[in-house]
């Protein structure tokens, strides 16, 4: 018989990720007639962003499209996916995918279906020019994703509601912020941003996660179909490479200048980010942090 699953998004409906996901859902529903249907419930107006993880864990919803930083309350390991240097395809080969699924099952009662955003670095965006990766004296808006890194660079960090970032930039309350290479335009922040620091760091992650009980209870046919469709969605991640190039071009057209350093400094910048990131990851999860590092880092 036909199984119906309920999917929520941790991102608001106007974010581009949601359109990608609803397009995927449309395809699943077209091909899955008689086996599996997915019902898109909506974004944070239905389940608040930071509750999505718990809602999947307890089965209030079946599937969620979310990022690890949003459910660290379920398990701190969730935020480690941003540190992956190996691609999702490789993760399926080298055992990382299985490790993730073991942890997600044990701590979150979740099945990790697929990663649907990768090849997307975070960048530091600034309104003041710097000539070396030293943020001393700069006020940087942070989220937990890169707080440790920016602090390690000497920044004075502050948290600001997303809705206030634009005004805070305009008035100079903050001198910069961290953000993935894309989604700047969704929020109009390009209007109040002067510089982007290249290189980027980390690897923005958005994934589909599913309630484990619900996953196990699916009829075999429906489960195989879901796995196949999720994998197809993940295989489409090459899309982000060209998309991000386009976004960089749009940023240049919007007048955002690139700050970059010499090759050695660039390398040190990225290494510092990874070092700080993994140190925090291992501190938060002495049990699984090192194992994840072994399989996800290069």
């Amino acid at each position: 018989q036909e199984a119906t699953l309920r999917l929520v998004s941790a991102f608001p409906e106007n974010v581009f990720y949601v359109k990608r996901t609803t397009d995927w859902i449309a395809k699943v529903n077209r091909d899955g007639k008689g086996a599996l249907q997915i019902n898109f419930i909506g974004g944070p107006k239905a389940i608040p962003t930071f509750e999505v993880g718990n809602a999947v864990k307890t089965g209030v919803v079946d599937i969620a499209m979310t990022t690890g930083a949003y459910y660290t309350n379920v398990m701190p390991e969730a935020d480690n996916l941003k540190l992956a240097e190996v691609s999702a395809a490789e993760q399926r080969q080298n055992g990382a995918y299985d490790l993730i699924n073991r942890i997600w099952a044990e701590k979150g009662n979740m099945r990790y279906l697929a990663r649907v955003v990768e090849f997307t670095p975070f960048h530091l965006y600034l309104n003041r020019k710097i000539d070396k990766p030293d943020l001393t004296g700069l006020k940087i808006r942070i989220t937990p994703v890169y707080r440790d890194f920016f602090q390690a660079l000497g920044a004075q960090v502050m948290t600001t509601a997303p809705g206030e970032v634009y005004t805070a930039l305009e008035r100079g309350v903050i001198d910069g912020y961290g953000w993935p290479i894309h989604l700047l335009f969704d929020l109009n922040w390009q209007e109040k941003t002067k510089y982007r620091v290249d290189p980027g760091f980390y690897n923005a992650e958005v994934s589909l996660i599913m309630n484990l009980d619900k996953y196990k209870a699916l009829p075999a046919k429906a489960r195989e179909f879901l796995d196949r469709e999720a994998l197809a969605f993940e295989r489409d991640n090459e899309f982000w490479k060209s998309y991000n190039q386009n976004e960089a071009k749009r940023q240049a057209e919007a007048g955002i200048q690139v700050i970059t350093f010499d090759a050695a400094t660039n390398r040190a910048f990225i290494e510092k980010a990874n070092e700080v990131g993994w140190a925090a990851a291992i501190k938060a999860s002495p049990q699984y942090g090192p194992q994840m590092k072994k399989l996800l880092a290069r």
Partner: protein, 437 residues
């Protein structure tokens, strides 16, 4: 359950409980429990509901609510508010309905330093009404302007309800706050004009009375001593934002602290009146925040059940033009304003209104300012408007409810005209935020 049944259950059920006399917050919460069990799924859903309730008020964008209310309460309980009236009174020369004009002007100034309509109306009502009645003002003529100006307080920043509207709707809070300024000032000017013309036509409504005409420094002293320094609270709030010291949310805290500092400077702040002000702030903030707990989760469950999307697509399938939809939304708001208070008005309508605003590509600031005007209308609408009740509460017994209803009518008409003006000329609402924010 299909979405129409879900909509009936949630919207209908909460309305029935509301009219049964269950407090607003609990009316939402009872239905939330039923909705969570049905739509979010049994025990897991109910546990999720509890978690969502915590998150609903642990939200930084709501912090200006207590802070703005604190500003108004401190000004009121330290007696500094009275000084504003005194300062304005000395400046205004003989005009028809002079005391009513004084009330409107002082109230407009007070609006810019108080974020609490209740403090403004109670202050003006308790101080000016007895004087006006004693000088032979008709009760309707005396109470009308006092109620009307309390409503203007909501439009002119700081305003706790504007912050709440922005936070719930996702419309820029700073743009909404600035967007309310021009409509608020237009309304005040219209009030003054109306009072003067009306009293000129029928002088018996507000007999011209003798008053001490101050000259020279005595006329200007309270202006410099009290009015301008107090208005500097407004300047400090705006300046801290513009200079890049603070985010809009943080500037509310600076305003509250600066208000207390001024009260200390005037030696008006005592431990006991600070305590009274803080307690009053806790009470009003607590009322609003507790409703938010119930109503935020209500709107989440409504959305989860599919009723929100269903209603939105039903309405957008009617083939109406954006302007027709906006007009219908405003009409429904005014109708709701007859029965329910401002916070519930927002809570009931926003989950449906905002998706429609997005769908039709309507300028959210324009929409938000019209929403504010409808809410301030709700403050004035019989039989339940907050300001009518507040006015009755501070009036001597010779003032009958009928006087209050009659007194407020012209001001309701002017507010409706303002709404029409903003509807036809959106620039009234969106021009200032465009220039300043």
């Amino acid at each position: 359950m299909d979405w129409p049944s879900a909509a009936w259950l949630m919207l209908g059920g909460s309305t029935v409980l509301l009219f049964l006399g269950l407090p607003v917050a609990f009316s939402f919460m009872v239905i939330n429990l039923v909705g969570a069990a049905l739509f979010l799924g049994g025990q897991a859903g109910l546990t999720q509901l509890a978690r969502n309730s915590v998150g609903s008020v642990a939200t930084f964008s709501l912090t200006p609510i207590p802070l703005f209310i604190l500003m108004g309460e401190v000004l009121f309980h330290t007696g500094l508010a009275v000084k504003v009236i005194d300062g304005v009174e000395r400046l205004i020369r003989q005009v028809p309905g002079r005391l009513a004009v004084v009330a409107v002007v002082a109230g407009t100034i007070f609006s810019a330093i108080s974020g609490s309509t209740i403090a403004t109306t109670a202050m003006l009502g308790s101080l000016m009404l007895p004087v006006m009645l004693q000088r032979g003002y008709h009760p309707a003529m005396a109470t009308g302007p006092l109620m009307a100006i309390g409503a203007v307080d909501m439009l002119i920043p700081p305003s706790a309800l504007t912050v709440l509207l922005g936070s719930l709707s996702g419309i820029s809070i700073s743009k909404l706050l600035i967007g309310g300024v021009l409509p608020g000032v237009i309304l005040s000017a219209a009030f003054v004009l109306y009072i003067v013309v009306r009293v000129k036509m029928n002088p018996s409504l507000a007999p011209a009375t003798e008053f001490v005409e101050y000259r020279g420094w005595a006329k200007l002293k309270p202006l410099f001593q009290y009015v301008l320094p107090l208005v500097s609270i407004f300047v400090v709030v705006v300046a801290s934002m513009s200079a890049g010291w603070a985010t809009p949310t943080e500037s509310a805290a600076i305003g509250a602290l600066f208000t207390m500092a001024l009260a200390v400077a005037y030696r008006a702040l005592t431990f006991s009146n600070l305590l009274v002000a803080l307690r009053g702030t806790a009470a009003i903030s607590g009322m609003i925040l507790f409703i938010i707990v119930g109503a935020t989760t209500f709107s989440q469950i409504l959305s989860f059940s599919g009723a929100s999307d269903g209603l939105v697509s039903e309405i957008s399938g009617l083939g109406l033009s954006p302007l027709q939809v906006i007009a219908a939304m405003m009409a429904l708001l005014i109708f709701l304003g007859l029965f329910v208070e401002q916070v519930s008005m927002m809570m009931i309508t926003l989950p449906i209104y905002m998706p429609l605003v997005q769908k039709y590509g309507v300028d959210p600031v324009w929409f938000g300012v019209m929403f504010l005007i409808c809410m301030q209308l709700g403050l004035l609408l019989p039989p339940h408007g907050l300001l009518l009740m507040t006015m009755k509460g501070v009036s001597p017994s010779q003032v009958r409810m009928a006087d209050i209803f009659r007194g407020v009518l012209p001001y309701i008409a002017m507010s409706v005209l303002l709404l029409v003006l903003v509807f036809l000329v959106p620039a009234v609402a969106v021009w200032l935020p465009k220039v300043l924010v």
